[in-house]
Symmetry: C2
Subunit: 326 residues, 2 copies
Amino acid sequence: MAEAGIEQDLLIGVDLGGTKILAGVFDAKLNLLGSYKMSTKPQRGPEGVVERIARCIEDAVDECDLDMARVKAIGVGAPGSVDSEKGVVLFAPNLEWKDFPLVERLQRLVEVPVLLENDCSISMIGVYEVELKSKPRSVVGIFVGTGIGGGLIINGELYRGATRCAGELGHMVVDINGPKCGCGNRGCLEALASRTALFRRIRQAVKEGQTTLLSEMLGRDLEDMRSGDLRKAIKRGDKFVERVVEEASEFIGIAVGNIANILGPEVIILGGGVMEALAEEILPTVQKIARDHAMPGALKGVTIVASSLADNAGITGGAVLARRVP
Amino acid sequence: MAEAGIEQDLLIGVDLGGTKILAGVFDAKLNLLGSYKMSTKPQRGPEGVVERIARCIEDAVDECDLDMARVKAIGVGAPGSVDSEKGVVLFAPNLEWKDFPLVERLQRLVEVPVLLENDCSISMIGVYEVELKSKPRSVVGIFVGTGIGGGLIINGELYRGATRCAGELGHMVVDINGPKCGCGNRGCLEALASRTALFRRIRQAVKEGQTTLLSEMLGRDLEDMRSGDLRKAIKRGDKFVERVVEEASEFIGIAVGNIANILGPEVIILGGGVMEALAEEILPTVQKIARDHAMPGALKGVTIVASSLADNAGITGGAVLARRVP
C-alpha cells in the first residue's frame, strides 16, 4: 500500500472511547513519538466516527512531522465486545454501535493494515508489555473511563475465553437494585463507578440542590466537567465530591474483591482516564474494601496498583498489536 | 502403612460439607463401589469432625465388604479456602474452622495418605474427569449446597490462581444491600442462593405468618427440612416455595451472567445438593437470567448445564485426586 522504497517502521495505536479518540505514533521499539486527541462525536454514527479516527491518525503522524507512508500497521482498541478475527465491533453501548465492520471501513480510508481488539484487552496488552516488567503469570486489569472494562492475563497470555469476549468486568452486577446500565441491566460496576456514573450522580445531586465547588469552577450546568475537575474540587475541600468518589471507589473495591475470590491473580492493576485523574483518591479505598471483601488468602501476596501508563495504555497496546503484523 | 502383600487398589473420595460427610469407595478405574453418609456435626469442633470423617471412611469400606488395608489413598474436599500443599483448611465459615491441619489429623487416624483440596475444586475435577467427555478447554463449575463454591478449568486444567484460592464464586457480591453472609460481607451469592439462604428465607417467612405446604409436611418448626422437600412442595403447587426457589435461581443466573462476562467459558456446569434436588426448577431460570445479563456474545455457544454426577461429584473428584498418589 505504501510507496516503494520507504521503510514502514511506524506503529499506530488507537484508543477509541465513548468520549474521545486517542491516536499514538510509536517507533518499532514502542517509544511513543507523539499522540493526537479528538472528540469521538458518536452522535455522528459509526461512519462519521471512522472518518474521525482516520483524521486523528493522520493528524498524529503529521504532528510528529512524519509521513503516513511510513506506517506499518494500526492497532485499534474499541469499547464493548469485538470480533478481532473478523474486525467487527459486535456491541458497543457507549457508541450505540452494533455489528459494525470497523477494520474494513478504516482500512478503506487509511490504506494501512488495521487490527482490532477490545479496548480493555488492548490496554491490558499495553500495560503487560511495557509496565509489568516482572511478567506476572496472572493479571487482571480494570480500566475505568467513560465505561469500565477489564483485561485478563492468565498463564502469561491475554485470555479471551472460549467466547473471545472474556474480561467484561464492567458488567459484573454488584448491586442488583443499583442504577440502570447502558447494557440494559441494573447495578453493573460500570453503572456505579465509571466516569459517566460519577458525573450522573453529581449532576443529579446538584439538580436537587447540592452545593459543590464544581458549580463555582464550571458553572451551574457543569457542562465541561472532567475527571480532573473532581480531583481539584476534592483538593480544595469539597466533601460532597469526595463522598461521590469514595462511593465509586467502594464499588470498585467490591469488584476487586470479587475478582480476587474468583480468579486469584498475582496483580490487579487499575487504569483508564478516571484512575489517571483520581488514583490518589481512589486507590486506597479500593485496596481497603477489596481486603474486606476477599476471602482469607484470596489477596495474600496480591498487588493492587494503579497503572502509570494511565491514558496511554490503550494506544501502547495498539502499537504492540500493530507490531505483530508481519 | 498397610499390611505386606495386600494390593492397595481402592481410592477413597470424601466430600466434607457443612451438613454432611460423604465418603465413596472407588476402584482404580473410578467406578463407585459404595458410599456412606454421616452428618458433620460441626458443633463438635474440628477434632470431633475429623473422627467422624475417619469413621465415615471406615463405614463406607466396610459397607462394601472391603478392608481398609486395600485403600491406596484418600482425597478430601473441604469447604472454604484450603492450602492443598500443607494440607490445612485455612478458613471454612460453614464449619467455623480456621487454620486446621486436616491432613495431618486425618492421616493419624486412618494411616493412609490423605490429599486435600477445596471441595468445589475437587467437585470440578470429578465432573471434568468423569462427566465432561468432550474435555472443553474452559469450564466453570458452580456448586450449590449448604454454601456455594466454584471450580475453574482453564486451558484444560484446574485453575487455582496465584493465590491457590481461585474459584470462590459463592463470595461474589451481587447485592451490596443483601443479607449478611457467613464470610462477614453482605449480598454474596452464597447468602442469597445456598441451601442455608433458601431455608433461612422460608423459616423467616413462616415465622411472619406465611403459610406453606412445608409446615404440613414437616411440622411448624420445619426442623428436618431438606432441598428435596422444596421440590415436593413445588410439585404439589406451593407458590410461595416456588417463588423462593425462583428468586434464588435469579441470583444464580446473575452470577452465571457475571461469570460469562468475566471468563467466557465453554461450559458452565451447576452441581451440588441443591441442584441435585431442584435442577428442574432452577436450571431454566438460571439460563434465562444469565442470557439477560451476559453481554452480547458472552454466552454464544456456551452450554449451561446441570451436573448429572450431582452429589457424587465431590467424592469422585476425591478419588481422582487419590489416584494421583504414586
